[in-house]
């Protein structure tokens, strides 16, 4: 057997590929050959490490040296200095943002220290296109255990005892959902994975699909055994080409080894897995719309009950779970429900993966134990706000969720605490906002998204969100009227209680949450025609501070509408009637004499 003294892990997740990891990998292969190291050092292409901000990421084992933002030109130095002579290239090591100190090892970086990587444990550590690497990390042992040592009822009991709840956002107990599907009468049943990750800013499911596809396959096979199904579908959006490619490879390799197909582990259990590519409609994340889409029909939800557990795909009992939920299952079966239930809060067990984006220093994926606070996630793992600006709020749960303001940052995160704060776990998107964010504009942004994604089947969602959006647009343009806030609230209440599916029922959440915590901003827009964050262009006004203006005329020269007048070496003035608020003058001024209000 050929052994390699070193493994060079190169991230091939979507984020790192976008920042150039493929070129780095090709150059690495060239340089290893140039230095005669191709038989000493192996290149391993991995999935996402979650620290996308720092990509392309290269990790050298056995030491576990972590290089970040590696460019093609850096590769020769890594090979010659580190791989040949054993001297890590210091300038490419990660530097701690606070202390500026170099942190050579993966495990010591603050971003990873506070995390508890269970679902993401293999992501970035194994080659997702090689089933053996998954097997080396105890892969498929849980499936073997379930099929050969446990009855389907015991599997369900184990999942129930673990306290696992749906990671797609609803938080429904997974074991109970499986029980319903098991108890449903039918000769044919289906297991469906909802990989239609549609929240803006969420990419945790994509990273699991790309970085550890076998965990999903194993989890689905265990679920199928538990409910008595022999066929599964993975519904994944076509916008995730790399995820689809890796899933296809993984399914083919599992078939080859007999881990999918007929008579798995000699137990008589058969399981076939299909991939269905979705066209990317947000509503297809709703389970009945998703099922309709698999059947080749238009992706529209229907009234529940009957629930998919009784009448799902092709009218047969079906169980739908999301990617992260399934990926937890093999770990629970392998290590036991007690181990899993030992993590988290009273009613939310285990971990949750969050996609950290927005105005935060370390964007990326963070998997944390339930019950950690938002402050720990944003300021310790995330490293705080870009340019050390002031934190304003964090939008959790995407367009269906709500914002959490500063005063609630110490809230321990679990399903129930977030609901009581007017937000929701959602799929786990965290969009961090700084002091320069207008909360009315934020609500308008998310409502614009859900309004466009509304399938149009039911009136409250189709018409109601449109009217709410019109009102918000008016307010941000400075045309808000007395009574708009009350109208928004009344519409929100009606839409929430009368919409057909989750899309409409949660669409008003961003408006309600911003109204709850930032009502004064709405009032400032409507009553004073003022945007406190200075974001809404129509409400902004530019003026020149007389004591700072030296009369250099730079502003007057760049103004496209000649709204600025004044004599040379004397303070200038802006004519508000002519000003189009483009901000060119403020950029041109070298003396910070122009202020936006």
């Amino acid at each position: 057997m050929q052994i390699y003294r070193g493994h060079v892990l190169i991230c091939a997740g979507t984020g790192c590929v976008a920042s150039g990891s493929k070129k780095v990998q090709a150059e690495m292969a060239n340089q290893l050959e140039a230095f005669n190291l191709e038989n000493d050092i192996k290149i391993v292409e991995t999935g996402c490490h979650g620290f996308c901000e720092m990509g392309p990421i290269v990790i050298v084992y056995p030491e576990g040296i972590f290089y970040c933002q590696v460019k093609m030109e850096d590769v020769k130095e890594i090979v010659e200095e580190h791989l040949l002579k054993g001297r890590p290239v210091k300038r490419l090591l990660f530097r701690d943002q606070m202390t500026e100190e170099m942190v050579p090892h993966y495990r010591d970086i603050d971003f990873y220290k506070k995390q508890n990587r269970i679902v993401l444990g293999n992501c970035g550590f194994i080659n997702p296109e090689n089933i053996k690497e998954y097997i080396a990390r105890d892969g498929y042992e849980a499936l073997a255990k379930a099929l050969t040592q446990m009855t389907p009822e015991q599997v369900i009991d184990e999942v129930k005892a673990s306290g696992l709840r749906g990671r797609g956002g609803g938080g429904f107990p997974t074991g109970l959902k499986w029980q319903f599907a098991r108890d449903a009468k039918g000769d044919k049943k289906y297991v469906i994975c909802n990989a239609d990750e549609g929240d803006p800013g969420a990419f945790m499911d994509r990273s699991v699909l790309e970085g550890d596809p076998h965990a999903l396959i194993e989890g689905m096979a265990i679920a199928a055994y538990a409910i008595g199904s022999d066929e599964g579908y993975i519904y994944v959006r076509a916008e995730y080409p790399l995820a689809i490619k890796r899933l296809q490879i993984a399914i083919a390799q599992a078939h080859e080894l007999g881990l999918l197909g007929k008579d798995i582990f000699g137990s008589g259990f058969n399981f076939k897995l299909n991939i269905k590519e979705g066209a990317g409609a947000f509503v297809c994340g709703e389970e009945t719309a998703l099922i309709a889409s698999i059947e080749g029909r238009r992706g529209e939800p229907r009234v529940r009950p009957p629930f998919p557990a009784n009448k799902g795909l092709w009218g047969k009992p079906s169980n739908v779970n999301n990617v992260e939920t399934f990926a937890n299952v093999p770990r629970i079966i392998a290590k036991g429900s007690q181990w899993y239930a030992g993590m988290g809060t009273e009613k939310s067990k285990g971990t949750k993966v969050f996609a950290l984006t927005g105005k935060v220093k370390n964007t990326g994926l963070a998997e944390v134990t339930m019950g950690l606070t938002l402050r720990e996630i944003i300021f310790e793992i995330g490293g705080g706000i870009i340019d050390d600006k002031k934190f304003k709020a964090v939008q959790i749960g995407g367009p269906s969720g709500g914002c959490i303001p500063e005063q609630l940052l110490d809230l321990p995160i679990d399903y129930d605490s977030l609901i009581s704060a007017g937000a929701m776990m959602g799929s786990g998107g965290l969009v961090v906002m700084d002091e320069d964010t207008c909360m009315v504009e934020l609500a308008r942004f998310f409502l614009n998204f859900t309004q466009m994604e509304s399938c149009g089947k039911c009136t409250p969602c189709r018409e109601g969100t449109k009217i709410m959006l019109d009102i918000l647009e008016r307010i941000t343009k400075g045309e808000g009227k007395e009574g708009d806030i009350e109208l928004l609230e009344s519409l929100a209440k009606t839409i929430k209680s009368t919409s057909l599916c989750g899309l409409g029922q949660t669409a008003p959440n961003p408006v309600l949450a911003t109204l709850r915590y930032f009502r004064d901003e709405y009032e400032a827009h409507i009553k004073e025609k003022r945007c406190p964050a200075g974001v809404c262009t129509a409400l902004a006004s530019y003026s020149i501070l007389e004591d700072k203006c030296i009369g250099c005329t730079a502003c007057a020269r760049v103004c496209p509408v000649n709204a600025i007048s004044g004599e040379v070496k004397k303070p200038h003035k802006i004519d508000p009637a002519k000003c189009i608020k483009c901000g060119a003058c403020a950029q041109a001024c070298k003396f910070n004499a122009i202020v936006k209000k």
């Binding site: 390699y4 070193g6 054993g86 690497e133 105890d138 073997a144 050969t148």
Partner: protein
Amino acid sequence: MAIKTAEDLKKIKEVALDEATARINDGTQIMVGMGTCGIAAGARDVMTAIMEEVGKRNLKIAITWTGCIGMCEKEVLVDVLRPGEKRITYGNVTPQIVPRIITEHVINGNIVEEYVVGKLD
């Protein structure tokens, strides 16, 4: 090969673990000095001999390498670190004595005293 039993899975896992030794290992480390002085004294050949020996014996240990530590006179230097034990540095190592270091020290825990040039806690 199709997997039909948990035993079959285990066999595949063993091979897979061997292939992943650089990442998944038992904590024992062999470290070769690969500075200019080390390479000039024949560190590449020593490294190759170590890799062959470790591969042959199917050991789950990490083979690492380091730069010059200033004892160029005694190169090739090879360190053996067993978890919880002192770090032992061997000097003037040649490919011929590699099998002894591995069988006596790495596997059985008996230090090959005649080549030791340093012991560190």
